[in-house]
């Protein structure tokens, strides 16, 4: 399944053909020397809703710009719908709807005039259906009533919706949505989630980036986590969560904390963290019941024992040592 001459298909994963987006060692070093994206291998299967998550400044947008052919990679390759970017852009981009780093339109044109301008730029779009398609897209994002208003009078949420409408001007195989919920109220955020879900049900692949994991976690089938230009983790969401390293915490009386820690260390548990009322450590391959037995055997006053699998956010915090929304 791997073609050694092109090297396009990374080993151990699905072939590029079945991937809507595939990158291979994709790297961008800016002229200032700053490495925005450090050799990432992104794999977005067809039909997936891929949550591309990371704090602001982690390299998500630069990656998306490279995927869309806006920015030239320093090294590595990027494939979009099987075509290598930026060369294949003319062939594949008409099948890709994109919202990149917020909406941007001519402020003095109306919403529908802005869509007409974008549609007129598309050499493969049929001018006879342009108006109908624009109206449909506007209705779909709930902007039908404001179509005739100049863009500069739009609220932040309306601007975001117009951006989505532009991405939906034509049926797309792939949608790349960079922070689509930015500026939207909770209701709008919910609508975007529903829209994404609906599109995905019709077979559209969606790459949706966000710095707010909670906003998109529930619609994602796949997740990739970016931090500092590196793709720390990616894969099927359920698998990832299942693979999260479980942590065992022991609650005991303060005078037994030291003894409990000794027992855990003795069993080979790592990353010990002691508090006044207990100690926790990564469980690793050790069965929890073995731990409890050892603790009891050692005479530790066992007040409570808990094994917790982290959710995505905790995995992220574990991986980066930081919370979200932290610019680096």
């Amino acid at each position: 399944m791997t073609d050694p001459t092109t090297g396009a298909a990374p080993s151990g994963a699905a072939p590029v053909a079945s991937l809507a987006i595939a990158t291979d060692g994709l790297t961008k070093r800016f002229r200032s020397g700053q490495v925005a994206v450090a050799g990432i291998d992104l794999h977005v299967p067809r039909g997936a809703v891929y949550g591309f998550i990371g704090p602001n400044g982690s390299g998500k947008t630069t990656t998306i710009r490279m995927l869309l052919g806006l920015v030239r990679p320093t090294s590595g390759r990027a494939f979009l719908l099987g075509g290598e970017m930026p060369g294949a852009g003319a062939d594949v981009l008409p099948r890709v709807g994109a919202l990149v780093e917020g909406p941007a339109f001519h402020p003095y044109l109306t919403g529908s005039a802005n869509l007409a301008r974008l549609d007129a730029s598309d050499a493969t779009a049929d001018p006879r259906t342009a108006r109908r398609r624009a109206d449909e897209a506007l209705d779909r994002v709930g902007l039908g009533a404001a179509a005739g208003k100049p863009y500069r009078q739009y609220s932040l949420g309306m601007k975001q919706r117009l951006g989505l409408a532009a991405a939906l001007l034509r049926p797309r195989e792939l949608l790349v949505l960079d922070e689509p919920t930015n500026g939207l109220d909770p209701q709008g955020t919910r609508e975007v989630r529903n829209l994404v879900r609906e599109l995905a049900e019709n077979g559209t692949t969606v790459l949706v980036s966000s710095h707010l994991l909670a906003e998109i976690e529930q619609v994602c089938s796949h997740v990739g986590i970016m931090s500092g230009g590196h793709l720390l983790l990616q894969g099927d969401r359920a698998e990832l969560v299942a693979r999260g390293l479980p942590r065992l915490s022991v609650q005991t009386s303060p005078e037994h904390v030291g003894a409990a820690a000794e027992v855990l260390t003795g069993l080979g548990l790592t990353d010990l963290q002691t508090t006044g009322a207990g100690v926790s450590a990564l469980l690793g391959a050790v069965p929890p019941e073995k731990v409890s037995a050892a603790l009891v055997h050692a005479g530790v006053d066992l007040l409570g024992l808990e094994v917790r699998r982290p959710n995505l956010e905790q995995i992220f915090v574990e991986l980066t040592g930081e919370g979200f929304d932290v610019a680096r």
Partner: protein, 431 residues
């Protein structure tokens, strides 16, 4: 702290080198470089090709060439003439502000358009960026027209002279014309230069060249005297029509660039349209009438015209020395009137036009000056200031030194002119 090994592991592929090369930024930046080189070549190529110096013309001796030039019938022509003077004069206190202005001929570069029917009808236009100074000669009449101030000066003969003019033209089909309205042209300057070859000079041929796209011989007239300011005069002569196409006057002091150069950049030997050679004052233009007396033309004018020494001299004018070293001395001149722009004063300097290298340039000055006196044209140009700028104070009076010519105006009213260093004039004046 680990990557999820299996899912992100991959190998870095070797990119297809050709595909990369074609779309690489470096290749694309070669395009403007190629464009710049192509543009550079396109603009530089014509002169490169034109400099092929052997035009493959039949060989000819300098004497034959000089004779051909002297005997060639003036032919109808039209073309563009560029005149460049590097006389080493002080910067003149005016720019191109006033538009086409004959004084510009004293320094820098000027472009003119000339049309001539080969006889007594011609038009010369001195071009400014958005203006023109035209001199039109139509038989016994001449006009100048300045577009800057929409002013016409009409030169004509009185009835008696007009009759005599017709008679003269009938006699000598075309010769030296009594009404000189011309701006300098290479043709005229070239004929004069060849005429000067008779004055103690050696005449040689230089490499064949191309002027205004036409193959040409180059006749070099070198003064035998080593005291004159003139180093040599190079005349490019059209191989086909023997018409001088370019004249370069080289100063003895500068062997890199000619001090005076006048040449066609574009020439055609077709007869110009009648509308070009005719002139009538446009409606609304201010017109000044000038009646010019027709000078007595000696019977043998044609024979003596170019032979400086054998000329009848007007009263008060003496010539010292011969050939290139000749110094013309005029006494009893009212220099103040000359400076203020009295045309008769300017006209009483017969030596100037000969030694100046171009009859027309000197004529032009006299033509221009009376207009100046009348106050209206070239507005703020002060001839006295111009005089002060061009000359320097010396014990004998004021001296004008240029690369080719020196003029000494003494305090006692004498004017000495010669193609010799200023010191020579001063020595003569002190005698």
């Amino acid at each position: 702290m680990t990557h999820s090994g299996a899912m992100t592991e991959s190998r870095r592929p070797a990119a297809s080198p050709t595909r990369r090369a074609l779309s690489s930024p470096r290749t694309r930046w070669a395009v403007p470089v190629v464009a710049a080189v192509a543009v550079g070549l396109a603009f530089a190529a014509p002169p490169l090709f034109a400099s092929a110096d052997d035009a493959g013309l039949p060989t000819i001796s300098p004497e034959e060439l000089a004779a051909q030039v002297a005997s060639a019938e003036p032919s109808p022509l039209s073309g563009t003439v560029v005149y460049t003077a590097r006389l080493g004069l002080p910067e003149l206190p005016f720019g191109d502000v006033g538009g086409a202005n004959p004084v510009a001929l004293l320094g820098g570069s000027s472009t003119m358009r000339v049309w001539s029917d080969g006889g007594d009808r011609s038009r010369v236009a001195l071009l400014g960026a958005t203006s023109e100074f035209s001199v039109v000669q139509d038989g016994p009449e001449a006009w100048t027209y300045s577009s800057t101030d929409d002013a016409v000066v009409h030169y004509s003969l009185d009835a008696a002279d007009a009759a005599r003019y017709d008679e003269l033209t009938a006699q000598a089909e075309a010769g030296d014309l009594p009404v000189q309205g011309d701006l300098p042209t290479p043709e005229e300057a070239g004929r004069q230069a060849v005429g000067m070859a008779r004055l103690s000079s050696t005449v040689t041929l230089d490499a064949q060249t191309e002027v205004a796209g036409r193959p040409a011989y180059q006749l070099v007239v070198t003064p035998t005297s080593d005291t004159t300011l003139v180093g040599r005069i190079v005349v490019a002569v059209d191989a086909e029509t023997s018409t001088p196409l370019r004249v370069q006057v080289w100063a003895a002091s500068d062997t890199k660039t000619p001090a005076l150069e006048i040449g066609f950049t574009d020439v055609s030997f077709a007869t110009p349209a009648d509308s070009v050679l005719a002139f009538s004052a446009p409606a609304g233009a201010s017109t000044r009438e000038v009646v010019v007396p027709l000078p007595d033309v000696p019977e043998d004018a044609a024979a003596t015209a170019s032979d400086g020494s054998a000329k009848d001299l007007p009263e008060g004018v003496t010539v010292t020395g011969t050939g290139w070293d000749a110094v013309v001395e005029a006494s009893g001149l009212d220099v103040a009137a000359l400076v203020a722009g009295d045309p008769s004063a300017a006209a009483s300097l017969p030596g100037v036009d000969k030694t100046f290298g171009s009859q027309g340039a000197a004529d032009l000055y006299s033509e221009f000056v009376p207009e100046e006196g009348s106050g209206s044209p070239m507005g703020d140009l002060d001839t006295t200031a111009l005089y002060d700028t061009l000359t320097t104070e010396v014990p004998e009076g004021r001296l004008l030194s240029s690369a080719l010519l020196s003029v000494l105006v003494t305090d006692d009213g004498r004017v000495l002119v010669g193609a010799v260093p200023g010191a020579t004039l001063q020595a003569l004046a002190a005698r």
